[in-house]
């Protein structure tokens, strides 16, 4: 079982976490056209390499955080909290 480094709790079994998917910025709901909005809803880059993702420590500190994971090897790096501490690249994941 893979270990995921929670920024608050340290490495924990991945079964403690909920996967929230790729980090995708939510478009401005008042200006987005259908194509933009549905791109946000449905389309994913689905890279076979490093991707910044949102995770939720469901059975732990119940904090959302972002982390880079290599989706081919499941290695991780660059963990950060969603409010930006330790991670400038985070964009809100709201699904």
């Amino acid at each position: 079982m893979m270990l995921l480094p929670c920024p608050w709790c340290g490495p924990r079994n991945v079964t403690e976490f909920a996967y929230r998917g790729e980090n995708i910025a939510r478009p401005d709901p008042n200006t987005a056209d259908k194509a933009t909005w549905r791109d946000y809803l449905y389309y994913r880059s689905n890279r076979a390499g490093w991707e910044r993702e949102g995770w939720f420590h469901r059975a732990g500190c119940r904090q959302f955080f972002s982390i880079e994971r290599n989706r081919t090897t499941n290695e991780t790096r660059g963990v950060g909290t969603p409010d930006g501490a330790g991670d400038a690249a985070h964009s809100g994941d709201s699904r």
Binding site: V14, T15, A18, Y19, G21, E22, D39, R44, N46, R71
Partner: protein
Amino acid sequence: MVRPLTSKLSRRPVKKYSAVNILRQGITRAPWAPVLVPHELRGRYDVVIIGGGVHGLATAHYLASNHGITDVAVLDKSYIGSGGSGRNTAILRSNYLTPEGVRFYDRSMELYRNLAADLNFNVMFAKRGHLTLAHNDGSLRTMRWRAEVNKLQGVDSEVVGPAEIKKLVPYMDTSEHARYPILGALYHPPGGIIRHDAVVWGYARQVSARGVHIHQDTEVRGIDVAGGKVTGVRTNRGDVAAGTVLNCTAGWSSLISEMAGVSMPVETFPLQAAVTEPVRPFLDAVVVSASLHVYVSQTDRGELVFGASVDPFGSYSMRGSLEFIEGLAGHVLELMPSLAKLRLLRSWAGLCDMTPDFSPIMGETPVQGFLIDVGWGTYGFKAGPVSGEAMAELVATGKTPEIIAPFDLARFTDDRLMGEKGAASVGH
């Protein structure tokens, strides 16, 4: 001391499979005609099909047999059937929720039922009956919904109670005291299992015989597009020009489409499966429990084949996990507690391209000549023949057949999502 195991025999090879020819071959020792013939990779084909699984090979088959198109290359980065076609649990059914889905899969069942004769290859289709268990009233309501839609499409489906379930599956714990008591099930008598590899090989043998080139160990590394049209593919073995390129891959479908500049509403998840040691036959029906995330069937060899839902996070890793087989075993024993001493022999993972509405994506893309048959989630094997038939028709006629029209890529921007998601969201 070490000798070649067989000497090259000059006898005429036996082509047609039949009991008579088995006898004849057994006596004369004439070789069987080869199923796969190696070819040089040519610099151009009319049609290039990426993916040598059941979808790609079926498409090649129906292109050749229904439309006479044989200047076709099927490319696979590994061996034929090495992806989802060889990793699924080989369950066939057509008891879907939406009328479009039911019609589509029912056509596939029809093709599957006649496939052995059609391909002259015994694909070992076994009609076993298919039970989808409901453990709560919400899921029972969804089963009724499916049954009603199925019946309206002429598909045999009905909701049955615990007593009938017990009759069909004596090993099932149908008591009220189970942690997740069984309230009923959707019973679909035409459902069954098949030998998945045989389907792949049967199609491969037919298309090879018709002159289609199957290239194994041939990996597509780029797709050329000029002026909005596809012009060919680049592979590890050289470039191939083609006016029509089909993406018939699973697991890597968004990576292939990306090569043509086509984005996809797809996320790839591993799906694990496992098989037990063989035991004497005791389970006829295919049993599915959505609430417990497990499906079970017993093969003709006596092994139990288990599957489950996709892994909880997206990944291209096919390593498999212990927690998967732990959960699987727990759920199987919830259903059938007397199987505790049965031993699990092997587990493996495949990759599933999940779409937002739990339905595939078939048809044209913004790039002319680049066609897709992807997004097959956990239900691709069932659809192999019908999507092959329909994709072949699309290639040959340039028109999208009605049976796959609802599954087009544009539905995600045009707000025409398929309702299978309805079943998924309330069926837990």
